[in-house]
């Protein structure tokens, strides 16, 4: 793959990639750093690329996110933490708050469920593609989606 083609493919999906990572990390700056790292890794191995570019790039980005998670473990938040109580106590119909509420709620569910939820509902990817990105069977992804929805319901006032 030439550099020009790589850049044009990246240009087409960089927004979704960064949104995906930002939803996983909850931090736009960190998400951009991980996205850059993923793009460099993708570029280095672009000679071996065959198939769906977006799914391939998302898989690399997801692996980078996991690597980052292992390097810097995220602070764990329990369901009884003040942050959670604050969310449920002050829920309002304000759109920006709902967005923030969702961001925090996503941060409280396990990483695999969060990934499946973000890819399915925000990026509109089918289960088959999510399974390829997460390198898990489709049935497992469906399970993550189901359990993830249940967990989110506990943190979000609808």
């Amino acid at each position: 793959m030439t550099r020009e083609r790589f850049i044009s493919e990246v240009r087409a999906c960089q927004g979704q990639l960064r949104r995906f990572l930002a939803s996983l990390c909850g931090d736009a700056a960190l998400a951009d750093d991980i996205a850059q790292e993923a793009l460099v890794r993708a570029y280095v191995s672009s000679g071996r690329f065959i198939g769906n570019f977006k799914a391939w790039l998302f898989r690399i980005a997801y692996n980078c996110f996991i690597d980052n998670l292992r390097r810097v473990p995220a602070p764990s938040a329990s369901m009884d933490s003040p942050e959670v109580l604050h969310i449920t106590d002050s829920a309002s119909s304000d759109a920006s708050f709902r967005h923030e509420e969702l961001r925090r709620a996503l941060g409280l569910i396990p990483e695999k469920e969060r990934t499946a939820i973000v890819l399915h509902y925000f990026e509109d990817l089918p289960v088959k593609d999510i399974a390829s990105i997460m390198q898990a069977p489709a049935g497992t992804v469906k399970y993550y989606l189901s359990v993830g929805r249940d967990h989110l319901k506990q943190h979000i006032r609808l």
Binding site: V10, Q14, R19, D32, F122
Partner: protein, 120 residues
Amino acid sequence: MKDIEQFLRENAPETPDEGQFLIETNARLSAVEGIKQTVDGEHRRWRLALLVALVAGLVLGCLVTGLVLLYPVQPLQADEPFLAKAVQNLQQWLPVLVGFMVACAISLAVVLRTKKREAI
């Protein structure tokens, strides 16, 4: 079930705009390109050095074999003293030893030259 699904779809975060991101990506890719070129050049030089060493080894091996065949080693006499036997032995094997040392020197020169180019 539908409520949470609808909520998630309606509240998907907005896609961030390109801004500085693609400029930074391009800069990183240029850096990676430079590193890739350096590494490729290094690999090319090592392959060439390996080829030169192989050819030099083959040529010298043939020469040494030729010398050995031209000057066959005489069997030692059992009644000669130890030192005389050693000197005679050394003299007989001299072409082989010189050939071996020359081969080592050429290989070392090839490796050092490649290393020096890399350092530059």
